[in-house]
Assembly symmetry: C2
Homo-oligomer: 153 residues x 2
């Protein structure tokens, strides 16, 4: 298990994998245990919607934003729609993809979830980073993510 990858970078890779599993697992279990709070993925979808130009998105846009396959997004959106948190509206300008938009209930759920989510991020992630580390993580991981997306290789 050596050669081929420079040791300090291999260590970074292992830390990246295990930290993700440990922290995300923790946070998700904590959210699941809290009454009326949305799971992480649901939150992400609604957040993207809230942040979108006219508060409307096609599923296509979610594929890259939340990093899921097309079918994964389709099923996730089904669940959110069934829960009444968003609606699909026909897009008159391109009937291939409906426009998703937040319902009032979706907006409320988003606001209600944020404090619990923020608290979990703070407790299990943010509190353990200093300013310089946070900046480095953002810069390095954003670069890594974008290269992986653009098919780099």
């Amino acid at each position: 298990v050596a050669g081929l990858v420079e040791p300090s970078r291999l260590a970074a890779w292992r830390a990246f994998l295990t930290a993700h599993a440990a922290v995300v697992g923790r946070i998700e279990r904590e959210l699941a245990a809290t009454e009326g709070v949305l799971p992480l993925t649901w939150y992400d979808v609604l957040l993207e919607l809230a942040a979108a130009p006219r508060h409307r998105l096609r599923q296509r846009d979610l594929v890259t934003a939340i990093v899921l396959t097309r079918s994964g997004v389709s099923r996730l959106v089904d669940r959110l729609a069934a829960a009444g948190l968003l609606t699909r509206e026909v897009n008159p300008e391109d009937r291939r993809g409906d426009l998703l938009s937040l319902t009032p209930a979706g907006r409320a759920a988003l606001q209600h979830t944020w404090p619990a989510y923020a608290h979990a991020i703070e407790t299990y992630f943010a509190a353990h980073l200093d300013n310089a580390e946070a900046a480095t993580l953002t810069r390095a991981l954003t670069r890594v993510r974008d290269r992986a997306r653009t098919g780099h290789e």
Copy 2:
């Protein structure tokens, strides 16, 4: 979507989540497309076994090493055993948990997989980090992981 978490740390959190999904997804698809190469989780289990003191571990040890629940480990080990990559041997000193050990086939698969895996890590992760970033990632993420594990709250 503000307050409660310092913005630069929130950015780090978002980058952490999306980078993980993008990079791991990429690497797993690449390994899956390569003939005779093991999936990431399988590799991790065999690697832990290879690195263990007498090349033997209980499932219990895998729970923390590869960050899965007990039942997840149980099912994963089932698959590896069915594939002939490891065996369960009764532990005479404590019959509650079998000892896992690599078969020759498991050892061979490990060696055969490493070059492909190393190449993928290099291409989609390591190549995009400089030395300082790699060191910071390891230090910061290891700390974060260990705090999440110890129930920190």
